[in-house]
Symmetry: C2
Subunit: 184 residues, 2 copies
């Protein structure tokens, strides 16, 4: 009596976002970018594949809409079965484990095989990116109401706290690692 049709987190993310209002795939792509992309990116092609699967499962239905001067589109909306599947998933215990992959750290791991110049540039670049990402996330957090959007704000806040940790780590290890230009 195992899980009959096990569908991945990405499917539920798409299904969940469709709970806000009916949308086309194109709309969804932009919504993902503005909402969950900080912790769960989904690219264009993948969105369309998930829409096909969800419709196949009966969790959403799409209706074709003709447009003048623009390509026709399909607007998808949740079905009752979809709403139930989402609620069941949300309240089931456990979740896909978090994953973190850092190309930067892979390089740093072999830091003693790099040239001092390579190390310096890599660190400078990393710090810069982290800083601009921090600003990005800070703006998002500030734009969200701590009352109305409490949960959404919390997700962005974790992102912010993580980048902040990242930045203070950079300062911490910059003192310890041989990154400075030798003077002599």
């Amino acid at each position: 009596v195992a899980n009959p049709t096990k569908i991945p987190t990405t499917s539920f993310a798409v299904l969940g976002l469709l709970g806000r209002e009916p949308m086309s795939g194109y709309d969804l792509v932009r919504l993902v970018e503005d909402s969950i992309a900080h912790f769960w990116t989904i690219n264009k092609s993948h969105v369309y594949k998930e829409l096909a699967r969800l419709e196949e499962l009966g969790y959403i239905t799409g209706t074709s809409v003709h447009q003048e001067r623009l390509p026709d589109k399909r607007i998808y909306k949740q079905t009752a079965a979809g709403r139930k599947a989402l609620a069941d998933w949300l309240n089931s215990p456990g979740h896909e484990p978090d994953r973190f992959r850092s190309g930067f750290l892979v390089k740093l791991f072999f830091g003693d095989e790099m040239t001092p110049k390579g190390r310096r540039e890599m660190f400078a670049d990393y710090r810069e990116r982290a800083e601009s990402y921090r600003q990005h996330l800070a703006a998002i957090v500030e734009s969200l109401s701590a009352d109305r959007d409490e949960f959404i704000r919390a997700t962005a806040l974790l992102g912010l706290r993580e980048v902040e940790a990242c930045l203070s780590w950079v300062d911490e290890v910059s003192k310890e690692l041989p990154l400075e230009r030798k003077m002599q």
Copy 2:
């Protein structure tokens, strides 16, 4: 005059680890687990595929070793070309962008559609996992010398700082979000 054979970060990770000493795929899998898995997991099958590719490229060579009472194995080691390719990659500017995916945050994003019980359990579970992961990383950091293993230690330290941020985020939002059991 573009990049002729573009190989991914995972390949270089395997190639780099082989720089320490010649090893079999099986050995590599365990080494990955003990060294870079915190920021770059590579599973068994993938390791073997990368070994095949690296040998094809001439960056490593493997020799078959017969064993009594154990399956035969292939021991791989870096070639001169491999060492050069690694050094070039390490010192080339830029790196694959870091990626973070959180199944937990996807659920939390839809937190207002969860039951209070579901939320409580999810948070409790998340905190517990983070805490045990923090201990795991703290042990690794302590086991590494700040002098001899400076770079490796730095990579583990970032992991540690991130989990710490995670844990303090849990405390921060636990006060704000409706997670408590109502009493009445």
